[in-house]
């Protein structure tokens, strides 16, 4: 499995942009990068997925450099409700049928 490394925690104020960088030096050619969000007492929720360059949806943007050894999740203008744990996942392809390993994630705390 491609191991991922991300900061343990990040603090932000409401209205700011939050950027969480995930390192995945051993990413394989066919692997996609997926980010999940988890609130207390809930299961993780899919946020965004990408393979290269930039992906944007209504929730976030995902920036992936050409070497794909890292990726950055960008949350624009965060609010208090964005306080959550964010997980970066890189899957193993081949025979693993979409096998993914969650790390400890990044705890984002948004304050007024």
């Amino acid at each position: 499995l491609a191991k991922t490394t991300q900061p343990i925690s990040m603090d932000s104020y409401e209205g700011q942009e939050v950027n969480i960088t995930c390192s995945h030096n051993n990413i394989a050619t066919n692997d996609y990068i997926t980010w999940y969000q988890q609130f207390p007492s809930q299961g993780p929720r899919f946020i965004i997925q990408g393979y290269k360059t930039k992906v944007t949806n209504e929730v976030a943007s995902l920036f992936i450099p050409a070497d794909r050894k890292s990726s950055t999740l960008s949350l624009p203008r965060v609010s208090l409700s964005d306080t959550a744990v964010y997980y970066c996942l890189v899957g193993e392809t081949g025979d693993s049928w979409g096998k993914f390993q969650f790390g400890a994630g990044t705890q984002v705390v948004v304050t007024p």
Partner: protein, 116 residues
Amino acid sequence: EAGVAQSPRYKIIEKRQSVAFWCNPISGHATLYWYQQILGQGPKLLIQFQNNGVVDDSQLPKDRFSAERLKGVDSTLKIQPAKLEDSAVYLCASSLVQDPRKNIQYFGAGTRLSVL
């Protein structure tokens, strides 16, 4: 579209007792996962099913944990006997794996187990 359903939401048992958790995945999702999430940690995969076959159970403590997915739909995870260290949230997820590389998992709310 209905999400992943899990029950019960909470369970308190004493050590050495047995417990079972139930999961109903999203309709049509062939892949089903059971995770264990200990407080402060990320989810840890216990077992992965593709239809009713086991794809990966390398991290399932098979001396006490068992899981089945009859008819490739609902699934049950059982712990017998429970230990104190089994206290955790047990999450079920499912995915529509048309391309394993793009696997997006949909999670239930989980079952919080407390072993006393």
